[in-house]
Structures are given as C-alpha cells and as structure tokens.
C-alpha cells in the first residue's frame, strides 16, 4: 500500500549553459508514494515558488511515457531505478522513507545543459534530418496493401520504431554513443520494403552525422538497451553494423 514518506532531493542546479553547476539538497515532507516522480518535482517547485526561490527547470510534457521529453538521471540511472519506463512513469513508491534522491541532467557531451535538468537534444534531430526518412512526397503513393509485409517483419519494425528519442541511450553510454538511437531508425526502415531502397545511403548518412556531432563510438557495453525506456533491442545495433558495412563495401 502506498504511504506518505519524507525525503531529501539532491538536485543539480545550473543557471545557464556556461554557468558553474552544483548540487542543492531540498527536504520534502509527507510525499504520497502514489505521486509520480515529476509530481514530486512539482511539489518541490511549488515549495520553492512559495519561498520566492527559482524553481527547478526540467523538461516534461505528455507525462504518459511517450513524448520523450523528460530526461533525468535519478540515483545514477537515466529515468531512474525502475526498468522500461520514462521519468514521468516513475512513482514515489520506488523510494523509501528518509531516502536522499539524487537528480541530475542527462550526462552526454552531445547534450549540453541549458538550465538545471534541461538539456539540448537538437543533435538527435540533426541525425534524423541527415537520413531518418523515406524520400517520398505527399501524394502519388501506391495503395497501402499493394506490398504485403510478413507480420513478423512488421512487428520487428514496430519494435525498433518504438524509440521515443529521449536520449537515455546516449546518456547511459560511457562512450556517449548514439548507436541505439540511430540503429533503431535504420533498422525500422531497412526492415520494411518501403525503406529498403535507401537503406545503404541512410545508414551511411546517419552514422556520419552522429560522428560529426560529437557522439562517441559503440563498444557494445549494452548500457543503452538496459536503460532504454522502450526496451529497444541491441539486435538493432547489429543490424545497423550490417547495413553500414554492406553500404561501405558497395562504395
């Protein structure tokens, strides 16, 4: 049964991209365990506003685990200690009375801090702009059932496509690699006949952009898949490597 707990929250505060950051610890009394983690931050912010202090800046939006906006390191894990969830789906019942909870922004060179827990993930958009699409314009496409796709293939593509672009994979990786993110999109489109036509060019373009933007190399530690809120599989990275190598051989 959910109870009321008293906690301490140790939050990374940083006034701006170039400012020196530091941890600040706040006490919160009587927090209901049924509250979500972000609702706990709301309570903290209400408390800070009441004291005429600057509330903690953080990204959040849908609060149902799909928009990919929320991005916090909680007790050393992207999206917190529970598995297969985003921060907004984390609930206070995962924490104990008297616990000190440490909250940090994404740790990645490619995601610079904007303020407090808010980071700039524009790099992910740039990778997508480099090739994360099928080059079709609106209109003039064939009937949706013109090309049958085996169910297992469609399901696999769907699993890869479930990536929400939150950045947890790169943030979790000790090398700061965006391989899982890139692999998810490359896989989804390489699996489907519609995307196969450009598969080689796509893999090369997206990998080149990833390297250019300062993401690290993949050493297959698997931290990305372990922390991924949508459980995107490491098998996608293997597929990306195959696509990438095949593309290089063709050159």
């Amino acid at each position: 049964m959910d109870q009321y707990i008293d906690i301490k929250v140790r939050v990374w505060r940083q006034a701006g991209p170039k400012a020196q950051g530091h941890f600040e610890t706040y006490e919160l009394k009587h927090v209901f365990q049924g509250a979500s983690f972000l609702e706990m931050i709301d309570i903290l912010n209400e408390q800070l506003v009441a004291e005429h202090k600057d509330p903690v800046t953080y990204d959040h939006d849908c609060r149902e685990g799909i928009c990919g906006m929320c991005s916090m390191y909680v007790n050393g894990h992207p999206h917190g200690p529970d598995s297969a969830i985003t921060t907004c789906q984390l609930h206070m019942r995962k924490f104990k009375d008297g616990e000190t909870i440490t909250v940090e922004p994404w740790r990645s060179r490619a995601f610079p801090v904007i303020k407090d827990l808010m980071v700039d993930r524009g790099a992910y958009d740039k990778i997508m702009q480099a090739g994360g699409f099928v080059s079709v314009n609106t209109g003039g496409v064939p009937d949706a059932n013109a090309i049958p796709i085996p169910k297992p293939v469609a399901d696999e593509a769907m699993d890869a496509a479930s990536c929400i672009g939150c950045g947890a994979c790169a943030a979790a990786c000790k090398n700061g690699s965006a391989m899982l993110f890139v692999a998810a999109k490359v896989s989804q489109l390489a699996l489907l006949p519609q995307g196969k036509i450009e598969a080689a060019a796509r893999a090369k373009a997206m990998v080149a952009k990833m390297d250019e933007l300062g993401f690290g190399n993949c050493t297959n530690t698997g931290a990305c898949a372990a922390e991924c809120p949508k459980s995107v599989s490491l098998a996608n990275i293997a597929r990306l490597n195959r696509e990438f190598l095949a593309a290089k051989f063709k050159d």
Partner: protein, 730 residues
C-alpha cells in the same frame, strides 16, 4: 419522329436552364422546395418547364432581401454556405470540383512565398512538410525541444479510414455518415465528406513513409473496431498509433528541414499574430511575434500566410489527458484578432481514463478506447457491494457474475461497450452519481478483461493490450490481468475551436487553422480514431491545396520588413502584457490558480451542465480572473528561461477560454454530443437535441476585453443525410 426530337431538345435545353436557375438559388433554404416544384413542372413540355421554373424562381429570389431589412436591427449575423466557401454540386463531387477549379501557384512563384506553420503535431508537421515539398518556404514553430514531441504522439488506439479492407461493408459514405451521426448532427456535411474521402490517402501515405502498422499473417494491414461504428476500419500500430503517425510526419518534416525548405524553430512560443492591411484596407495575417523560450527574447517573423495547428484547449480543466504544455493561447490570439471561436462548449470527456487519486495530481492518463473492444464495463448491481468496494473491503474480482451490472450492454444492446465516448462517459457518471462508484472516491467504474482472458487466453490479450496494461500497473500499482481496471471519464479533446471555412481559412484573411485547433469535422462529439484522421487530412491533403487558392493572389506581395510599425506595435503589446504579469508579485503560484479554475470547470462546465450552474461558473471564473491578475506570483526574470512565466501566459488565456466555454454552453439550450444540459434529456437520460433552435455552429466574435462576445450563427442544413436521434440501442 421529328416532333418528338424537338420536344426532347427543348426539354434538354429547359433542363439546362433549370439547372442554371437552381444553381443561382442553391445557397438558399428554399432550394429544396424549388427543385421539387421544378421537377414536377419538368414533366410537362420543355417550354412549360422553363416557364414554370422561371415563375417559381423569380419572385423567390427577391423575397428574402425584402424581409431582411425590417428585422436587421437585432438580427444575429448569419454565415451562409457561400461565406463558408462550400462548393456547389453533389456531396461526392464537391472536393473534386473544388480541386479542379481552385487557383494554383506555379513552381517559380512558390519559392517567393513564405508560410508560417505553428505547431508540429500531426496537422502542423504534415502541413509544413507538404508545403515545403511543393516548394513554399516554411517557418515552423513548436514549444517543445523537438518537433517529434507534439501531443499527437500520445494517441494510442488508431486512425480511421474507409478502405473496407475487412470486407465488412465500409465505404466513404459510411465513414462520412458515422462521423456526422457520431457528431450528433452538428458538423458541416461538405467538410466531413471530404475528410472521409481523403482518409484512404492517409493510410497509403503513412505506409509509404514506413509507418509500421499492424499486419495480419498474410502480410496485409490489420484493423480493429472503435466506438460509434459497426465496421472495423481502424488502422493501428500497437498502442502507439499516434506516435508512429507523428514520427512519419516528423520524418517527412526532417527531410525538408535537411533540405533547407523548412526553417525549424524549436522552443519558441507564438505570443501574437501580426495583421497588416492591404491596399484595400483589408487586414491580412502577415507574421507572428514569438518568444524564444530559452533566452526569453521576443522575436518577429514575417510570412505571406500563417497556419495554426496548435491543438486543443482541454487543459483549461487543468487535469486532462493533454500534455502539460498543451494550451489554447494560439486560439485566443486568433480570436482577439477577429477569428471566430466556434462551439467552444463542445469538449470531449473520454470514458476510459485512470481515475484521479490525489490533489498533487498533474494529469490524467488515458487508457485507449481500443480496450473497449474486449473489456467489459461494469459496476456492482447492489449498493452494499459498491460501499464495500469504496471502503476497500473487497476487490472487483470478489463480486460474482450475477451481481455485476454491465450497464452499457444493458442500456445499449446494439453497440454495448462500443458506444461513442460521450454516451459512455455520461453512463459512467450516472452510475457513480447514484452511488455505484467502485474506488475510494466513488468516482470510478470497472473495465474488466476476465471474460476476454478466458475467451482468448492471456497471451492474446497481452499481445493486443500489453503496453496499456503495463502502463496501468505502473501508475496504479495493481495487476489488471488479475483484478479489473478502474476507469473514470476525463477531459480529452475539444471539438470546438477556431471557425474555418471550407478552405480551412479563419475569418481573418491569410490566417488558417488546422487539426484540433479548428472546429470542423467532429460536430459535438468526436469518434475514436478520428482525431488522427482529421489532423493528417488537414495537413497532408487539404490545406496544401486550399491555401494556394489564397496564395495565388499573393504572388505580387514582396517579403515585408519586420521593422514595420504593425510588428513593433504587436511586440510592444506582448512585452507590456509580460511586464504587467511580472509586476504583480502576489502570493499565489500559477498552478494553484490553474487548479482552482480546473475544479470550477469540472463542477460547472463539465459533464452535466445546467443554466444555474453555468451562471454560477461564470461568476467564479470572473473571480478567478481577478485573483490571477492581482495575486499571481512569478519568480525570475522575463528575459530568460522562465517556466512559470510561460505557464502564467497560458493560464491568462485558459481563464478567457473557460469563460467562453461557459457562455457558449449557457446559450446552447439543448443537449448534443459532448454538451449535456441536464434540462434537456429524454426520460431515459439520453441527450435531447433541439434541432429547430440550435442546428447551427455557434461562432463567437471578440468585441473587446471587458465586453461580451457577439454570437454569429452558421446554420447547418443537412442536404444529404437525414437528421435522426442518435440511437445505439438497437
């Protein structure tokens, strides 16, 4: 023989003349009568028919003008089908005719025209991408850190299309009819038919983009059923259809950003629209004022036209299924510049959301309507069982089958658990009001899968709904495979919005509105899986055409400097408003006032509305407005990143929207779709429309900060469908 031929020719000629004459009066109400009379007359010889037609038509053409004058004093302004630019001709040819005759912009000129698109949801992203593909220069704005995060992403269940892949009798007409009926006969026929028509193109487009829709073992696309339809026409991608469709639109948008045809502005919020008068003195939308949410700087942007796809205003209620930052401010900016706000009171309350559990709560989570395919909704038959559930003494599974009241199946045998959302929500409220609620607050009903698990096996149920079950368990901490889910209605979608004509242009020239932000297509109630359909229809297949009819006249208009006085004035007004808010330095946080507004909205402008309650609600909203403008506290600086200021600016508009919803709800003395006035119901508690008085779109025109808005009506004449009482019973 020759004589016969002569008569035939004369008759043919007469028919042509008649057609011409009929077209002349086609926009008038009497047309039906005239056509019937003409048809009768046409049985005579050609000449007689012409004479009869002329006789019939000529005097009537003068009649309404003569009548209009004496009544002009107090008469409500009327929007005619001509004002709404609805094309003439039979329903199924309107859109084709429109496209055949509309003006286009040639490729060289497209390069010289700039279009601002606000929002990157399904409507905004698909419009921005499609316009850029055509060759226009697009400036696209969103408040999130990436265009991929707009709240369309959260749609779970699916998207409708009239493909009839299941061979269950679906057709464009049937999708049109279901949508009109589902909307309780409060939507425009021509728009809805067009929506049904392009629905099939959407599915084709999304598949071509690589959207991984669910498939059957044969490799073809799978469908599921949704509320308000007797066919399976909903395409889906697991429980993440909105996400996959949005990522499809986002990928098309990304491609255009990469090509430099779309300039993307993330973390920017529009704060005003800039209107500039043309040489005839007519004001046209020519740009926007936006705030860079990271730096706090106010910036100016010019374009030849502005398209707003900013979503709905459900967050007026504070607690809703909308994302935290979803807001109605863009709509209010359009409204203040003269765009009509249509049917603000039509808000959809979704029956299957996770019930509220505390004051700290920030949002309500939706459980997809698709769950009603296999889940059965019930409350206990016996009041004492309900009491024990409320006290936490027993669980749902402890109540034997014979003591369960499957009230939707009982009341609506034909549609059962798949009745439309408004009907399902009201039925839940009815049971809970009577004391049969099943959780500690008494505000919840059961959604039970035990029968489906028995019938299909747990694995099949898990495959279909697994991610939804997981979501439920994470939030509620209870296993829905073992104990029935608890659900309760919550604000989900707003059918009302900015009035647009057939071209999706608002009553302000050059200002367009698409997706949930506009009022069209769903009438008083939206069917499940139709929001995604409308957003993408507007963005991919309607606006990119219709906007050209406007832009073709604008090719001679050079790009304007943002140093023009109109831009400076608009920026100053925005800056003054921000300064005013920052200077209040009161005692209340923005959220605390927003929560107060939300409670008033839920209690007085919610699922069951009364004249008395609405009047009371308006008073309370006025008091909240005063409290906000005198006692809100915003920390920090205006010219830097400031979430509290962002929220305050949005709340200022929510308060106005809330009031407008209440005013509209008070004026609409009938029950229809999502708008339920308790005074207007049948003895069985079903919604009672007043077609003779309220068969119109209620459009509200802004008349100033402290004066009441003016009501303008767009009458809804059902030419192609017969208005019926919605019946989901048999």
């Amino acid at each position: 023989m020759a004589k016969k031929e002569d008569i035939l020719n004369a008759a043919k000629k007469a028919a042509e003349v008649i057609k011409e004459k009929v077209e002349q009066v086609a926009e008038r109400e009497e047309v039906k009568e005239a056509v019937e009379a003409v048809a009768a007359a046409a049985k005579k010889t050609g000449k007689a028919a012409v004479a009869a037609a002329e006789e019939l038509i000529a005097p009537k053409a003068e009649a309404p003008k003569a009548e209009a004058k004496p009544a002009a004093k107090k008469e409500t302004k009327i929007i005619t089908p001509a004002d709404a630019k609805i094309p003439a001709g039979p329903l199924e040819l309107k859109w084709t005719n429109y496209k055949n005759h509309q003006k286009l912009v040639n490729p060289a000129n497209k390069r010289r025209l700039d279009v601002i698109v606000i929002g990157t949801g399904l409507a905004g992203a698909s419009a921005a991408a499609s316009l850029a593909e055509m060759g226009f220069n697009v400036l696209n704005f969103c408040i999130q850190d990436s265009p991929r995060r707009a709240h369309s992403i959260a749609a779970q269940g699916g998207i409708n299309a009239a493909k009839n892949y299941q061979n269950d009798g679906d057709s464009v007409y049937r999708l049109f009819y279901d949508t009109i009926k589902g909307g309780d006969y409060r939507a425009r026929e021509a728009n809805v038919y067009r929506l049904a028509e392009v629905s099939n193109n959407i599915i084709d487009q999304c598949v071509a983009q690589g959207v991984p829709f669910a498939r059957e073992y044969g490799g073809l696309l799978d469908n599921r059923s949704f509320g308000g339809a007797q066919v399976s026409r909903t395409f889906y991608a697991k429980g993440q259809t909105g996400q996959q469709l949005l990522l499809g639109a986002y990928s098309a948008l990304s491609r255009q950003i990469g090509k430099g045809k779309v300039k993307m502005y993330t973390r920017y919020e529009m704060l005003d629209i800039v209107l500039i008068a043309d040489e005839n003195g007519e004001k046209r939308a020519r740009g926007i004022i936006a705030r860079n949410l990271v730096t706090g700087r106010i910036e100016r942007f010019f374009a030849h036209a502005v398209v707003v796809g900013s979503g709905g205003y459900g967050n007026t209620f504070f607690l809703s299924t909308n994302a935290m930052a979803s807001n109605g401010s863009a709509a209010m900016q359009m409204y203040r510049h003269g765009a009509y706000f249509a049917n603000p009171c039509y808000a959809q309350i979704h029956p299957t959301c996770i019930p509220k559990h505390g004051d700290f709560q920030s949002k309500l989570t939706l459980m997809s309507e698709s769950l009603r395919n296999d889940g059965r909704i019930w409350v206990p038959k016996k009041l004492e069982d309900a009491k024990r559930l409320q006290a936490g003494e027993i669980k749902g599974r402890d109540i034997p089958e014979e003591d369960r009241d499957y009230y939707l199946e009982r009341r609506y045998p034909a549609f059962g658990n798949l009745v439309p959302r408004d009907v399902a929500s009201r039925a839940a409220k009815e049971r809970c009001d009577k004391g049969y609620g099943v959780n500690n607050t008494g505000l919840a009903v059961f959604l039970d899968f035990s029968e489906a698990i028995q019938r299909l096996g747990k694995d099949v149920v898990a495959q279909k709904y697994g991610n939804l079950f997981q979501m439920y368990e994470k939030i509620v901490d209870e296993n829905p495979y073992e104990n029935p889910m608890m659900i309760f209605p919550a604000i989900h979608y707003t059918m009302g919005g900015i009035w647009v004509d057939y071209e999706l242009q608002t009553s302000v020239k050059g200002l367009f509105c698409i997706g949930e932000a506009n009022f069209s297509d769903h009438g008083a109630n939206r069917l499940g899986a139709s929001a995604l359909m409308q957003g993408l229809a507007d963005g991919y297949f309607v606006l990119p055409y219709t906007i050209q009819n406007y832009l073709s006249d604008q090719i001679g208009v050079p790009r304007m400097s943002t140093d023009l006085p109109e831009f400076a004035e608009a920026e100053k007004a925005v800056q003054d408003k921000i300064n005013k808010l920052m200077a209040i330095q009161g005692k209340r946080s923005v959220d605390s006032i927003h929560k107060e507004l939300g409670l008033v909205m839920w209690d007085f402008v919610g699922m069951g509305r009364t004249a008395e309650g609405l009047k009371e609600g308006i008073k309370k909203i006025d008091a909240i407005k005063k409290e906000f403008w005198t006692n809100v506290y915003i920390p920090g600086e205006a010219n830097s990143l400031n979430n509290e200021l962002e929220k305050a600016l949005r709340l200022a508009d929510f308060i106005e929207i809330g009031r407008l919803m209440a005013v509209d709800a008070l004026h609409r003395e009938e029950s229809c779709g999502g708008h339920f006035r308790e005074e207007y119901q049948t003895p069985e508690g079903e919604a009672l429309r007043q077609d003779d008085k309220f068969s119109y779109v209620g459009c509200w025109k802004y008349t100033g900060e402290d004066s009441e808005p003016e009501l303008i009506k767009e009458p809804l004449d059902y030419e192609f469908t017969e208005r019926k009482t919605r019946n989901y019973k048999n």
